[in-house]
């Protein structure tokens, strides 16, 4: 996977995709548009979940899709997450490509049995005869001052489950292309949408063929444009690794650090399983220092995996142990305390400082 390819395809904007139209969309609009195109292009796709149909979902991601594609393709279910995922298994066995939604991250827990024991294993159990082309959309992470269980980060759990793939976009452009890509794969993908980013707009290069897809379809390497991490900002002194809503925050931090002459590279991991270890090695091989940032609690979070992968690949050149700036080992708190819990700019800057000031004794 070449650096050039990585740089090329996901830096959104007309420079890279001259012939494709560029729209200015929010992530909600980008996801909605992606689903609309998927439904149009793939007749076996069905979308369902709680309030996905008439209401268009509590976040309006499926807005208008039922009216346009009919009640058979886009429908409301009764209120039971285990059933939503369990029925996805049966639909997949019958040849459909289900795109179920759980309304909020915290309500994936009632469905964990079906996700872990069924969706993730059916292909294996059936020796490849019953693939599970299921894309589970999970509005994820915190930051919107919501009630309890509406701000959870389940990536470490999902990434640990054999048989699942896990992805989280950080921009409208990625949201559009990664969803189109995920929903047409033959394996189950957990699609974690950073709900605090639903409404921010950004450029989206829309295309009927998702970039990289053509290469993948031809059995070629896509250079990581769809399947790998993305360098969201180049830098020389230190790498910040993040995903979801933390990418935008890390980019802010990088701007602040630049004022102090610290040139921070920001890697948007995108795929949380499989993790693009090469991209991590490439970045930290250059910067020799890394901080990984996530909203989930520290202990046994995905940051440990990322840190260990970096250490494994860059042990010889690493100037300091990889730092983790994460949520604390506490239940996600109520709105008033949210800003204390989620890694804020200050805490990330402190983490950077610890790494930069680290001295071998």
């Amino acid at each position: 996977m070449s650096e050039a390819a990585t740089a090329l395809s996901f830096a959104p904007g007309p420079v890279t995709m001259e012939t494709e139209p560029v729209l200015h969309l929010s992530m909600q609009q980008a996801l909605n548009r992606a689903l609309d195109e998927i439904l149009a292009d793939h007749p076996k796709t069905v979308i369902f979940g709680e309030d996905c149909g008439r209401l268009g979902g509590v976040f309006r991601i499926t807005d208008g899709l039922q009216a346009k594609h009919g009640e058979e393709r886009v429908f409301d279910t009764p209120l039971a997450e285990s059933a939503i995922l369990g029925m996805s298994v049966g639909l997949a066995m019958a040849g459909f490509h289900p795109i179920p939604e759980v309304q909020f991250d915290g309500f994936a827990y009632p469905a964990i049995n079906q996700i872990v024991c069924q969706i993730a294993r059916m292909n294996y159990r059936s020796r490849g005869t019953l693939p599970m082309p299921i894309t589970l959309r999970v509005p994820s992470f915190g930051g919107i001052r919501a009630p309890e269980h509406h701000g959870e980060s389940l990536e470490a759990l999902f990434a640990h489950v054999p048989g699942l793939k896990v992805v989280s976009p950080s921009t409208p452009h990625d949201a559009y292309h990664l969803l189109k890509y995920a929903a047409t794969r033959p394996d189950p993908v957990i699609f974690m949408e950073p709900k605090s980013r639903y409404w921010q707009k950004g450029p989206v290069v829309v295309s009927t063929a998702t970039p990289g897809q053509a290469m993948l379809d031809a059995g070629m390497d896509d250079g990581g444009s769809l399947t790998g991490a993305r360098v969201a900002r180049e830098g020389r002194h230190l790498t910040l690794v993040a995903w979801g809503a933390m990418v935008a925050r890390c980019l802010q931090v990088a701007e602040l650090a630049a004022e102090d002459g610290i040139d921070v590279e920001v890697v948007d991991l995108r795929w949380l399983k499989p993790i693009d270890a090469e991209a991590l090695a490439r970045s930290v091989g250059k910067t020799r220092r890394a901080v990984v940032v996530h909203e989930a609690p520290l202990t046994s979070g995905l940051g440990a995996e990322v840190a260990q992968l970096i250490t494994q690949h860059c042990f010889q050149t690493l100037k300091a142990p990889v730092e983790r700036v994460t949520g604390f080992d506490v239940p996600y708190p109520s709105g008033d305390l949210e800003d204390e819990y989620i890694p804020n700019i200050d805490r990330i800057l402190f983490g950077i400082q610890r790494v930069l000031e680290y001295r071998r004794g």
Binding site: D76, P78, S82, P147, H149, D329, D336
Partner: protein, 350 residues
């Protein structure tokens, strides 16, 4: 709609409600209505970030909550039971603080209030009620002295597997549980007819050998009497009861919801039926239980109360961040203590 009592032991000895009790029920409903409408306004004014109104469910909530004996029973709410809380005499600033985003479970003391923390997982606490109730059996108290657990959930929540497991466990163990369903016609945008196969949650009870009552949830007296019978049945050691109060969610699902996307005003008007508060008022007037002076006083009290609660809510500051760490465990861990220390250092440094 009629109340269909199929309990083995209906509480026939219970005296009819006195005039004073009827007036108290009305006052409670009036308070709840006022506080509920106020909370919606507070959200619009930016005083609280969100709220789930119970408009139209006053009779179901007050009528049932009024049957609870706070010396021994325990209530397991979901997130829309403000009227139950008020009927049980909770500290309403403590209750409302959850909507201020002060603390998820609310700031009231659940143990003293006999009202479990507010619960955002639908059907999440139904099984807790079964365990708590079985604890009453295990504690070896005589039938008459054991507490009863009452769990509140909605038509939407009834689809969750936990509800089935809870009813089965309760029936197998003969646990003193009242399963109180408020069938308010909607689970966010999904109407009951596409949610509850067979049309009635109460009808499910028979499959477990549990007696059930489907009651007009907009008639506070009917709700109260049904609940009282259910409690008597449980206290007599006869096991659980299911009550389904048929009512209507007159407002939006929450202050973030836009019902216009899934139902018309005309549909609302037709389905909502009579306003439970107005209906009860007319009855009290026509039966001579209360006069206009009483209603004016009740209204004034409700208003005073609302103002006091608003003052309390506005005065609520954010909780100290240290509570994030100190309230996780009874016995804190070294890891968490060092995280708390690092947090303190970094926040003070800024």
């Amino acid at each position: 709609m009629t109340t269909k009592p199929v309990l083995a032991a209906v509480d026939e000895d219970a005296a009819p409600l006195t005039h004073e009790q009827l007036r108290e029920l009305y006052s409670l409903m009036a308070s709840v209505r006022r506080l509920d409408s106020a909370a919606v306004a507070w959200q619009r004014q930016g005083i609280i970030p969100g709220y789930a109104p119970q408009l139209g469910q006053e009779a179901a909530q007050v009528g049932s909550g009024y049957a609870v004996d706070r010396t021994r029973d325990f209530v397991f709410p979901t997130y829309r039971e403000m009227g139950v809380a008020r009927a049980m005499g909770l500290d309403m600033v403590g209750y409302m603080s959850t909507h201020k985003a002060t603390w998820h479970g609310g700031m009231y003391n659940p143990l003293e209030s006999r009202f479990a923390p507010i619960q955002a997982v639908v059907a999440g606490s139904v099984l807790h009620a079964v365990g708590w109730a079985h604890g009453q059996t295990l504690s070896g108290k005589p039938d008459g002295e054991r507490g009863v657990a009452m769990t509140y959930f909605g038509d939407g929540a009834s689809s969750q597997g936990d509800v089935h497991e809870a009813m089965n466990f309760a029936a197998v163990m003969k646990a003193p549980v009242v399963f109180f369903i408020q069938n308010n016609g909607w689970a966010i945008s999904v109407p009951t007819e596409r949610q509850v196969a067979g049309g009635s949650v109460a009808a499910r009870a028979a499959g477990y050998g549990i007696p059930s009552l489907q009651v007009d949830g907009n008639d506070v007296v009917a709700v109260h009497e049904a609940t009282r019978s259910a409690f008597a049945h449980c206290r007599a050691g006869n096991g659980p009861v299911v009550i389904e109060a048929m009512t209507y969610r007159r407002g939006p699902h929450s202050t973030a919801d836009d019902p216009g996307r899934y139902r018309t005003l005309e549909e609302e008007r037709l389905s909502a039926g009579e306003d439970p508060l107005e209906r009860f008022k007319q009855r009290l007037l026509s039966e001579g239980v209360a006069d206009t002076a009483f209603f004016a006083r009740a209204q004034q009290q409700a208003q005073d109360e609302e103002e006091a609660v608003r003052t309390g809510i506005e005065a609520l500051g954010p909780r100290p961040g240290a509570e994030m760490f100190s309230l996780v465990f009874q016995e804190p861990t070294p890891t968490l203590q060092s995280q708390a220390t690092a947090w303190r250092k970094e926040s003070e440094h800024v």
